[in-house]
């Protein structure tokens, strides 16, 4: 009895040590995988894009630098002038975390849409996962345009004797290339003008430039 009691102690210690060595790394591996998190609590967000699950995360290479057109600092103004932080009284300007929350709640539950308001050739170069392309040229037309009218109806608006009802229209979050881009502001102002409720309109002002500067995932459609 004495013999086994003497033996049990080191064996127990061995078990604890080996377990910690094996279990510790396994439990912590998820956290260790992300040294560049989005927030302290959030490492990534999975969203649907073209029927596939895409993980939105940040580039994990801490030495990564942008080399594409978004590394450019100066563009001719006009037309590429810096936009104010607020477009209007009620359109909400958002940042990256609010955009992710919008994707996770409104878009996931089919109550809102993230809209890339740039032209298709820009959209095809890379966009935010979960976004749909509705160019500002389409959204800047009046309701008399058949294509714009069709899109508004798809967004949940209804028309009766030429009067538009946006009660059941989806929330929209628009973006374009950056704080100097006039495309999403133009589309948002037009949506407001045709009666789209401004409390259902959101603007990701800093757009693709900020998205890429923070190393977020982009997708090509």
């Amino acid at each position: 009895m004495k013999y086994s009691q003497k033996l049990l102690k080191p064996v127990h210690w061995a078990v604890v040590l080996v377990s910690l060595l094996m279990v510790g790394p396994v439990a912590a591996q998820d956290e260790e995988d992300y040294k560049v998190k989005i927030t302290r609590e959030l490492s990534y967000l999975d969203v649907q894009h073209n029927g596939k699950t895409v993980r939105i995360e940040r580039n994990q290479d801490t030495k990564h630098r942008l080399t594409n057109s978004f590394s450019k600092t100066s563009r001719v103004c006009p037309p590429f002038c810096i936009n104010p932080i607020k477009l209007s009284e009620k359109i909400t300007t958002v940042g990256e975390l609010e955009l992710l929350d919008f994707l996770d709640n409104e878009v996931r539950n089919n109550k809102g849409l993230l809209v890339d308001a740039r032209m298709p050739e820009w959209f095809e170069k890379g966009t935010i996962p979960g976004a749909v392309n509705i160019p500002f040229t389409v959204l800047s037309k009046g309701v008399e345009n058949k294509h714009t009218a069709k899109i508004l109806k798809l967004l949940g608006a209804t028309e009766n004797d030429g009067k538009w009802d946006f009660t059941n229209a989806r929330k929209l979050m628009l973006f374009c290339n950056g704080a100097w881009c006039g495309q999403s502001p133009k589309a948002l102002r037009n949506l407001e003008a045709i009666g789209y409720p401004d409390n259902k309109l959101y603007w990701y002002r800093d757009g693709m430039q900020a998205w890429q500067q923070l190393g977020f995932t982009t997708v090509t459609p």
Binding site: S19, T137, H147
Partner: protein, 95 residues
């Protein structure tokens, strides 16, 4: 003799626990990616039923985006056509 058996049993237990945890980790990753091992193998598991219940909003969203993309393409095509016609008319006038 007792000591050897104890050490052996301990190692076996640790390997089983470690293997289980590794399996759970990879199983979780597969589930996160929407490709759970269970749903691939079995057809009537509870997880699949849950997945089917969650499907309609995602399916509806996919259909909505496809419809919007179709309308956008029609609109962009029409704009291009109009721009081309306008350019042709201007060229004709200049000639």
């Amino acid at each position: 003799m007792n000591k050897n058996i104890l050490i052996l049993l301990t190692l076996v237990a640790v390997i089983i626990v470690g293997g289980y945890l590794y399996f759970m980790r990879f199983s979780k990753e597969a589930t996160d990616a929407g490709q759970s091992v269970e749903s691939q193998v079995s057809s009537t598991t509870a997880k699949e039923i849950e997945a089917r219940e969650e499907e309609p909003p995602q399916r509806a969203l996919f259909d909505l985006k496809s419809s919007i993309q179709g309308a956008v393409e029609d609109s962009v095509q029409e704009d291009i056509q109009q721009a081309v016609e306008k350019k042709i008319n201007n060229t004709d006038k200049n000639q």
